[in-house]
């Protein structure tokens, strides 16, 4: 099997919380001991509820946040300890699509300037060829090339997301982190963007991490799915398997919460309602982070965080499967 494009081992990122003077320093454990790998042309979906560290994971993999420990391998090279100068050639191959298409485009740049900027930074092509390539990219993502001189505020949300995607593709990346690419868009536009991302993946064999909380959209686009809870990866496996046959009690609850678009659906009673609140990410429970809300919780769960164990085609971190 070929070397994965991205391999992450025991990645950790803790953010310090501003505490009072002389108090013990506290941390939000946003990304806590996460490992996975993504092969060429595949998509890893990351799901989980708000504040579980999905976005932080995506940004840490791209080294927007410097990881505290663990390793990130890009095509087999360890990029964890590289400084910004050494990262420069790798940045070209690792890109990001943002959640909010309003905030992620510089309002003072025209569409043409926005899409040409990455090529300018890497000094790809001469200025004339650059403009031609900008027009090609605009066509690729479904924008009219004659809108090249317009400003972001003149476009709709879906169109802006397309501008963002065109900018990302300008560098011919091999790996893209999509940070909630659909959540700021309405449903019909979401479908267009999902199809666009899939089309690009087929043509260019790009690998994606798709961070989202829309479970149906993630299922549609992902080959593999990882489920996060309070900074931990609790389950990871092929998309169909995770959705049809969830193993971890948290995944079960999450999957059962997906609304079904069928008025005759009678399975509402099967919905698993979790008790209690998500604990604060500053005070993560000892042992399994889900132990405070899990009905299968045993003494063992409260002792130590269970390791990811292979169960069938998946990997699950739960004492039930040990």
């Amino acid at each position: 099997m070929s070397e994965p494009v991205i391999r992450v081992e025991h990645l950790k990122k803790f953010f310090p919380v501003k505490g009072k003077l002389f108090e013990k320093k506290q941390y939000v454990k946003a990304v806590n001991d996460i490992s996975f790998s993504i092969r060429r042309g595949e998509t890893l979906g990351i799901v989980g509820e708000s504040g579980c560290g999905k976005s932080s994971l995506g940004r840490t993999v791209l080294k927007v946040h410097q990881p505290d420990s663990g390793h990130i391998y890009f095509n087999g090279t360890d990029i964890t300890k590289l400084n910004e100068k050494q990262m420069h050639p790798y940045r070209q191959k690792m890109q990001m699509i943002f959640q909010d298409p309003y905030a992620s485009l510089n309002p003072r740049f025209t569409v043409g300037e926005t899409i040409a900027e990455p090529m300018e930074i890497y000094q790809m092509y001469d200025p004339k060829e650059r403009m031609e390539r900008v027009q090609q990219l605009m066509e690729t993502v479904g924008l009219k090339p004659d809108h090249i001189r317009r400003y972001p505020h003149e476009f709709s949300g879906g169109q802006r997301q397309r501008i963002g995607i065109a900018r990302t593709l300008a560098l011919n990346p091999e790996f893209i982190v999509c940070d909630e690419p659909f959540s700021a868009l309405d449903v019909s536009i979401q479908a267009q963007i999902i199809n666009l991302l899939e089309k690009i993946q087929d043509e260019r064999k790009i690998s994606y991490i798709v961070v989202a909380h829309d479970l149906n959209a993630v299922r549609h686009i992902s080959h593999n799915i990882g489920v996060m809870y309070l900074g931990h990866l609790v389950e990871i496996g092929p998309a169909a398997e995770v959705y049809q046959n969830p193993k971890h009690p948290y995944t079960k609850a999450l999957i059962s919460s997906i609304p079904v678009a069928d008025p005759d659906y009678t399975g509402l009673g099967k919905r698993i309602i979790l008790e209690g609140e998500v604990p604060s990410p500053i005070h993560v429970p000892k042992g399994c982070p889900f132990s405070t809300r899990c009905k299968y919780c045993t003494e063992k769960c409260k002792g130590q965080m269970p390791e990811l164990k292979t169960v069938g085609e998946e990997q699950v971190a739960c004492t039930l499967y040990e």
Partner: protein
């Protein structure tokens, strides 16, 4: 009952132009200019300032009198066709001197502001963007500079470099940039958290590029407004210095010097005081109106 598909009918192919944008594309600058022009007070200020700048620049060339040409035979005359604003106690043409003074005052205002803007953007931008300890140290230096009154710097510089236009400019610049640096810093701090700055970072943009092409460009609104209000401040400071006698010295004249010269004869020839002071007032009013108009034009959601 109609079936769902019978509620709708397909559009003809000619109407399938969903990407059509009807509004004319406007750049940010054009948009601001249009809003600025719709504000009558600001536009009047701009026109007035334009007129004063034009006659101050070309006036002394076409005037038949030199600014320092004395003729004691005709001293302290009133306004006449030959001398529009009359003459001063040395018999110099007051109109020429006011034009000349306005030229120097405006030059000091604009040059000092330009220097302050450049220093302020670079210093404030770096402090805000790097943040942390660098920011802390840089802003404490700013606090120290700011805590000493501007007059003390100016008087000290005058003592060393003599009283001329350049030492007044340097004196105004020594702590004038501090305000600009503070404004740029606070803007950069909020802007650097925005997603387009993160996007530029992920694209591999250098720190310099992110700061100047993405952050400062987006902070241009407050920078322009502050700069516009700095010009009258500098003109006012210069006039004040010259009036108390430590500014530009004779025979060169700024508006402040003219007012100072007129002070001694105020009871007898009050008009000599009126002309330069009126010009100072008009310039400062015009600039303040422009500044207010720009603020509204750049920040249309803020007011109205």
């Amino acid at each position: 009952m109609l079936k769902p598909e019978e509620y709708f009918e397909p559009l003809p192919a000619s109407e399938k132009n969903e990407e059509y944008i009807a509004m004319e594309s406007k750049s940010f600058a054009k948009d601001v200019w249009e809003r600025f022009c719709s504000n009558k007070r600001a536009l009047a200020g701009l026109i007035l300032l334009g007129i004063i700048v034009v006659i101050a620049v070309i006036g002394p060339w076409i005037s038949p009198y030199p600014y320092d040409g004395m003729d004691t035979m005709i001293s302290n005359q009133g306004a006449s066709l030959a001398h529009w604003f009359g003459t001063d106690q040395m018999g110099r043409d007051e109109f020429t001197r006011v034009l000349y003074g306005a030229r120097i005052s405006l030059m000091i205002g604009f040059v000092a502001t330009a220097v302050n803007v450049v220093i302020g953007i670079i210093y404030g931008g770096i402090a805000g963007y790097i943040g942390g300890k660098v920011d802390m140290v840089m802003m404490r230096i700013v606090d120290v500079i700011y805590s000493v009154p501007a007059m003390i710097y100016i008087i000290l510089i005058m003592l060393i470099l003599g009283s001329n236009v350049y030492s007044v400019m340097i004196g105004i610049c020594v702590n004038g940039w501090v305000n600009m640096a503070r404004i740029v810093r606070s803007e950069v701090i909020t802007l650097k958290e925005r997603e387009f700055a993160v996007a530029a970072f992920v694209m591999g943009a250098s720190k310099k590029r992110i700061l100047f092409r993405h952050l400062v460009v987006n902070a241009m609104g407050p920078i322009i407004v502050t700069a516009t209000l700095m010009v009258p401040q500098a003109i006012f400071n210069e006039a004040f210095l010259s009036f108390i006698g430590i500014g530009i010295s004779a025979p060169a004249a700024s508006l402040g010097t003219l007012a100072q010269d007129a002070k001694m004869l105020l009871a007898k020839y009050p008009m000599q005081m009126v002309y330069p002071v009126a010009v100072i007032c008009v310039v400062i009013f015009a600039l303040n109106f422009i500044g207010d108009g720009l603020e509204e034009a750049l920040n249309p959601k803020g007011r109205r």
